[in-house]
Symmetry: C2
Subunit: 717 residues, 2 copies
């Protein structure tokens, strides 16, 4: 056996192959996948056996007999226009009755609201009535031609993962229900169930919980199409009891509208309200309370407990303050790209972290195309591509273990794929060996991304999944990325050693910051930082909120202004400088393509250096502000060229352009990670083509390196 | 002589050609252009002699010796960021010192404001001081890293038309000043001047005033580039005295910020505030007061007075209630397209209206390319193209007279051009002859465009000039267009015989209506109208303002919803119907191109008929609401195909699709106007190619017609 750190999916009836692959890939743990019963031949060997357990789904008999302990959520009925003073609203119209059942148990008048969406007013409860039998609300005394919606509670009677498998993989087994441990009787039952389960799994060394109680929400219509989905939303963790307890704990009652939010449901891209933040905190507290009890039981048996950082992760908050109090021994997650790798590796906990890579050993790939079964699948290519993305992030900050999931019987038919996984496993272990002695060289100083959410949503900015966008670029660059909230920035200012502050995202979003940019304290802090020599990097619609005659609040810093319908009579008369060459665009070959752009941007001062335009629209600009520097980038789409642009923009903004040839490569399709303490530098090829590159050492001396497609070479330094 | 209605630009030294062309074109009036002194040979003939007079520019000696009676305006100094607690702002930085002189006469502390643009607060006047000598304001006690601007008054020391001629035509004569008749001493002087001028112009039959007192604003930077321009803005009609009088009249004082408006200066595209509306009304009242005195003097000499509807037209408001009280005998204006023709012809006054067509007999055309002088000019083509645009509008609603401007000596070198003008003159007179007996057939019912400005800004929606956009399409269609304000709609509802209500423009603009769409009375009125059988036509961002979970407030009517950063987690699950053919798109050949689009639009209900898409984005949709119909169009760019789309959309929305072949043509490149009372129908070719078309009569019977490029044929009916 090699040196481990690898979890293998075992398969009954494949004992021989399991052992062979364990040897080939250096596996030291075996994953007892859902539905797989491992044979004694395997379980009696010296592998750690990892068994998965989804507590809220585990005891379907209990769940079925306690349907009203199922998880609840608020739905907003589709808007309906009153044509007269009576309006009947079919609540569930547009929603899946497979997924949801109307809550006719809890008092509708207490928990629901009917809202006049024309005026925004809550309709007096005396003016509407619920017909539980036919699932309608009748409003009397409606204002004709006003639009009405009902915020109502449902029970989710089809657990989301079960639903996903039925829809995606055409499962036909009975729908599973998910139960809410917030209900005391169910909470007690689950503890008993866990005892029984542990009794029945003596060979299990590690219990992998999937995950705790609350799924990220997926809302389906009658045709089981997804209407709404948000990986970070606290929308699926509601119960009438929790709403009542919230009032006791926080001193005020949430209105349905605090959670329905006019149908936006506090999407993570929205600036979070105080009520929603309080709700997140409340759910986090009670979720970590159950989970702690479960982990204690596992520990009492001498086993380890690890948590899956996906599916029912809501309420656990690996970046939150209560996470470690649950006592988990590890965190495990599938990882599709560098962003997701960093989401795991940067989580502020010292417990073991394991990631599961793509492709899963499934018949089809992520987008439903043939993979291990059918014409045209290329698992080798997928393996290399996914690993290349994760690897560059891993080189910046690694996790402790890796693994794969799925069915071994599919994988073994592709010997070349088995070799690719061996490469991944070995490269991973090489990285860890070197990184153990000290992290890879990074540009000095912190690169801070400020968002409304701050570190709680580190590496969770919603971008194009699965390819990723701006965060994906950052995930593997040799910079030290930190997430910070605007509230922290207001309270504590920026960290002393900040080199560049990044503001990224669409106008008015939680990512870009919206109204935070009208807060004097925010702009004072940021301007003072830059004027004092700091760097600023604004991407997409940085600092954007229309206020006092401007959309980009840091127009002076960015050196550009953005047109709005209000200033359409203002012409662009300032050209800015148009340098024929610039440090930031030194590697640009042809034109800069930043994808879809919002609005049109012009020079705000004659000194701004305009580095790229699309028609009249400035798409890339460099500006100086006091002793500091700022870079503006009008959008972002992931490409090797744009990753290099980001890298150069950060170095330039930080005033470190002179240091760009310290531990770097000349060819943008290649990257490097210098583990100076270990005495080795990894040079990687991020492309499917062979590449030549110059590796610059810590003194800027270059050496030529040739790399095969996706190859990683270790250079002794 | 033919039957007149034509004004010829005369030229000294070209007496023979003047007379020949007067005969050829049927001229009955001679225009005494600026700078041209007509010879007795001409003035003694039986032509009406029209002489131009710009009162505010006429007596440069007076203007120079009364510089502080020059017109004033507020400028906002370019935003400056305080780096410490003292900030010095160079007021005129970024503004032309040729155009403006700082007002150091009136009390800065009374009329100016220093504003902290970070907080929006007005800085206490004790915290800043003006240094008149060097044109700076020094702020003490500034908040470091806040942005400050100064709203300050200037005198405009270079009259805008004089400035335009210097810049565009490289004039080198002394800069002219414009004087403000609001100053009583100047007002009195101008009356004396007018007496003298009338004494000196005994042969003048018609005095054409250019125009009254206040130019539409053009603001230049140091390089004399245009920073800001708005054809409808009340920004150039300010004086300290007028501001003081406003307070007496309206009962409250305007703050500088009421007019500076954070640097947006109440652009006409902005929703007008009450203060700005009051200012418009106040200026309109005093402007019409001077003008009335001038007209009375002209009338006293037995002459006529006509007003130019451009340049210094601000304050006169041809669509306003005081317009006729000035007593002008006529309105005259250059016209470049159908929109401008309708702006003239629809003005609610019975006085004579004359339009001057392009091309002017100038060396270069509107965009500065060679025209009558130099290589490549094609005055014949330009003549035909401009006339084709104006003609279709003229066929809907005509003016009384036409004319040309410029230098005859240039035109006479192009005999074919002289023939083209003859065609224009004859076609124009034919149209009037038939229209005199009754207007052309139009789709029954009013087509009402609702904007924040209503009829005051009829045919003045700012679109791509000179080509025009959506209004240009409407200007020549056989529909009866009316402009209405949201306030009128709230107060009086829609006219009884409204067939279609149009809402057109960008979100939040005065055109689209912005917050008016959050007013229950507005949406109630509009929904009731449509549900009762009315038509709605929403173009660009109709009813758009984010409110209560939606951007398009009439989502139910339009059948589509528009994505925003707030609902990015909501998926598009409703497809709508995708009919293979539809009345609206029956003439579409290939794809629909509506130009640049804002945002992405999805189906809001399963019944909406999606007629065109661009990727996932719905660009054209038809929906039913109650007994009524609605059409959504995501944008507009002018083309023959898109004009036809608008025509069909209006007929469909009005429920008149069955009547589409009543007085219409089959080929979108052709149009018709049936003067039923006169017994003639005009069939026009709007294209530069020969066309065949079927003309449908009032019973839907077709006849084939062939047309030469841009030809108009009269068919007896």
């Amino acid at each position: 056996m090699k040196n481990g750190r690898f979890t293998l999916p075992a398969e009954a009836g494949m004992e021989k192959e399991t052992l062979e692959l364990a040897e080939k890939w250096g596996a030291d743990a075996i994953r007892d996948s859902d539905g797989t019963v491992l044979s004694p031949e395997i379980t009696e060997l010296d592998f750690d056996i990892l068994s998965t357990l989804c507590m809220i789904r585990a005891d379907q008999d209990w769940n079925r007999s306690h349907k009203h302990h199922c998880q609840q959520k608020y739905l907003m009925s589709d808007p309906r226009t009153a044509e007269a003073d009576t309006l009947v609203i079919d609540l569930m119209s547009g929603y899946s009755k497979d997924q949801f059942e109307l809550d006719t148990v809890n008092d509708a008048k207490k928990y629901w609201d009917v809202i006049d969406r024309t005026t925004g007013e809550v309709v007096d409860p005396s003016k509407w009535s619920l017909s539980a039998a036919d699932g309608t609300v009748t409003i009397t005394g409606a204002s004709p031609w006003h639009v009405y919606t009902v915020n109502f509670l449902v029970f989710q009677i089809w657990e989301s993962t079960s639903m996903y498998n039925h829809i995606t993989n055409n499962w036909t087994s009975p729908h599973q229900l998910g139960i809410d441990p917030y209900q005391p009787e169910t909470r007690a039952h689950l503890l008993e169930y866990l005892d029984k389960w542990l009794d029945e799994h003596p060979n299990t060394d590690i219990v992998r919980f999937t995950s705790v109680a609350y799924q990220f929400p997926i809302v389906k219509n009658e045709a089981l199409e997804t209407r709404w989905q948000d990986w970070c939303s606290y929308r699926d963790c509601i119960s009438a009891k929790a709403l009542d307890d919230f009032e006791k704990k926080k001193g005020y009652r949430l209105r349905s509208e605090d959670l329905v939010d006019a149908g936006y449901y506090n999407a993570t891209d929205r600036l979070p309200t105080k009520a929603y933040r309080d709700w997140v905190d409340f759910v986090n507290e009670f979720t970590t309370d159950f989970a702690r009890e479960w982990v204690e039981k596992v520990h009492a048996r001498g086993k380890k407990a690890v948590m899956f950082f996906c599916d029912h992760w809501i309420g656990t908050e690996p970046y939150g303050e209560r996470f470690e109090s649950m006592g988990f021994d590890g965190l495990v997650n599938p990882v599709i790209n560098g962003t997701e790798l960093r989401r795991m590796s940067d989580a502020p906990t010292s417990i073991s972290k394991e990631v599961r890579f793509y492709p899963y050993f499934f018949p089809v790939n992520l987008v439903g195309e043939p993979l291990f079964v059918g014409e045209g699948g290329d698992p080798v290519r997928e393996c290399k591509e996914y690993w290349a993305k994760a690897r560059r992030a891993m080189l910046r900050k690694g996790v402790d273990r890796i693994g794969y999931g799925g069915y071994l019987n599919l994988a073994v038919k592709f010997p070349e794929f088995l070799d690719s996984v061996e490469v991944v496993a070995n490269e991973f272990r090489q990285i860890l060996d070197h990184a153990d002695k000290g992290a890879a060289y990074a540009m000095p100083g912190k690169v801070v991304i400020v968002t409304a959410w701050g570190k709680l949503r580190s590496w969770m900015i919603g971008e194009d999944w699965p390819s990723g966008g701006f965060l994906e670029a950052l995930s593997g660059l040799q910079v030290d990325v930190h997430f910070m909230s605007f509230d922290e920035l207001k309270k504590d200012g920026l960290p002393e050693d900040t080199s560049v502050l990044i503001n990224y995202g669409k106008a008015r979003s939680s990512w870009s910051g919206g109204t935070y940019w009208t807060d004097p304290k925010v702009v004072e802090t940021v301007r003072a930082f830059i004027a004092g020599g700091g760097g600023f990097f604004g991407v997409c619609e940085p600092t954007a909120i229309e206020h006092q005659g401007r959309l980009l609040q840091l127009e002076d810093v960015l050196g550009v202004w953005r047109s709005t319908p209000s200033n359409v009579r203002s012409n662009n008369v300032i050209t800015g400088k148009r340098p024929s060459q610039h440090f930031i665009t030194a590697d640009v070959n042809g034109t800069v393509d930043l994808g879809e752009l919002a609005g049109v941007t012009y020079a705000a001062n004659p000194e701004v250096e305009v580095l790229s335009t699309k028609g009249d629209n400035i798409t890339l600009a460099a500006n100086r502000f006091g002793k500091g520097r700022s870079v503006y980038m009008a959008g972002f789409t992931l490409s090797i060229d744009n990753i290099r642009l980001v890298q150069r923009a950060l170095y330039w903004a930080a005033g470190k352009d002179k240091e760009f040839t310290r531990w770097n490569t000349s060819n943008p399709a290649t990257e490097c990670a210098a583990f100076v303490e270990a005495g080795y530098c990894a040079v990687t090829n991020q492309s499917a083509d062979a590449q030549k590159t110059t590796l610059y050492d810590g003194d800027g001396n270059g050496q030529e390196i040739s790399l095969d497609p996706y190859e990683m070479k270790w250079v002794k330094i």
